[in-house]
Amino acid sequence: MRRHLLLILTLLVLIPSLAILIVTGWGVVEHERAMKKIAESYVLDLAQSVAMRVDRPRFMHRAQMMTPPRVLDSFVLDISLPGWVALVDESGNLLAASSRAQDVLPQIWQGGIPVGRTTLVEGPFGDTYTIAAIPTSQGWYVISAVAWSQLLGPMVRFSHLWPAAVGLLAIAGMCAVWAFWRWLIMPLLSLESEVSTLKWGKDLPKPDDPPAVWELRRLRKVLYQLAQTAREREELRQRYVSDLVRVQEEERTKLAREIHDGPLQDVTALLQRILLLKQEIWNKRAEKYIEIAEESAVAAVRELRVLCDTLSPPWLDLGLVQALTELTDRLARTYGVKIYLEASELPEVSKDIILAFFRIAQEAINNAVKHGCAKNVWVKVSYDGEFIVLQIEDDGSGFEFEGDVEALRVKGHRGIANMVERMRMIKGKIDVQSSSLEKGTTITCKVSFPLISGEETPRDAFNI
């Protein structure tokens, strides 16, 4: 229905217009003929009735006494009838005439008139006249004439305007349809297609395009404002999530540093004293206690170190490849799985990228082993002069992922959502390919890292 609205509208306007145009055109043509016929019969009737009256002996008697020309009185002519009548003799001398006929007839009648039938004459002021001449028994002639406008009145005057008026109506109708299309249907269609492809919370519709009726412009404006609000809200939400991740990372780093510089050093110092004391020991029992103390202190140091490494690995400072090497070594040892790291030569990258890639690799390997029961994990990091690409592939069981990160987050699976968030924070892209049918998961992270030409990138201080 929506698609055919315009067609229906056009037809609704055009068909009646055309019908009226045709009917009126035909009417105009027929009208002309009808008017002609009416005028003809009227004029002939008029002339014949006057001729009949003139032939009567009473008129003849009076005619003999009159001095021509005489006014034809009501005896022969009902003066209320439109038209003019004149009586002339065989040589054309005017014997009698109805009122004003004497003035009018010479103006419209010049020259001969065929006797017994009507003639159409164009008058001096654009009027049309029908004239007829009828012979009487005395050998005179009755001449009658009528102006169409006089006989048929306004019908004559306006009949020509009808087709023009209807034509105008049709044109106006088409203009209306065009305007309807241009300012209502088109903007509506454009708005509809824009809204249907709009990513709510990300995109904005065009503020005012194309030209439309005020109501539609207003609608678009309102929609624009709504989309803007949605986008601002989404930005706020994302900033909030980013802040969460960032603050969490900062807190972890701070905590790790404090543990390293505080408790870890203190326990180390404690262990040193225990070890020193051990050298001084002479008592068997005391030696036993000291050994237990030593073991506890060593265990505490190890635990604190593991805690620091888990919170915020210090080796992140060493560079991306070193950080990933240490990570894969440790996870391979912890889980007893094979992790193959393949790293090509990389430029010195920022701490943000190292941290993001490190955490994503960590999460991906943990997921692969813990949830996917993977036995082999392949970690690849490469650089092609434009993008740094990290790929983590496993032979685990895989999972059904339809690309909706938020849905995963809602379900409590924050791992993938966090990876996406970390890539977003460094303006990178992440792609997760997994299927429980195909087995295995492949996570690909890509971040743009153009090298500034002509400038030797200094290697990391710790780079090896």
């Binding site: 203190d266 050298q279 090896i464």
Partner: protein
Amino acid sequence: MVIKVVLADDHPLTREGFKSYLEGKEDIKLVGEASDGESAWEVIKEQLPDVALIDIRMPGIDGVSLVRRVRQEGLNVACLMLTSYDAQQYVLASLRAGAKGYILKTASPDELLRAIKIVASQGVYLDKEVALAVEEPGFSPEQLSPREREVLLLAGRGESSKEIASKLYISERTVQTHLASIYDKLGARNKTEALLLALKYGVVTLEELLE
């Protein structure tokens, strides 16, 4: 001969502890100490000790950079990393920078003294805890072929399989086969471990690695 030692550690209590380890030893003399990277550099430059005990994490210049500076300035000082970090990547980074040894702060006084003596006599000392989390494979160095040794050294210098392949005029696949065989023989799981083990067993020397 008395070994002159400088100690750089930012934590006063542990620094005191290490001082106590060295006290009363006739063949070792503590000639200076520092609590940050900058002053450590000053003390080392001034005292020119035989051995510098350096913490990796210090305010100012970090330990690895300090070691690199000592080496770049051509000072004849054997640097021994004394740290809390057990990451193998730190061991490699330190060795690459020019350190002669790596020992954890949890090491016993005897181990520390042994390490000082080894690096003072141009040896390499690696803490058993960082060098290996694997069991001793009962390995004798002769088992590595000369070609495997060559591959391991190049890999140790940070060259990729591709680069090694083009240097030795062999295929990348052959390089991978050699590496797999090296890992197998050394009982290592990866390049880092293989390298640390090879250093520990004397299959390769630090000098060869730094060539």
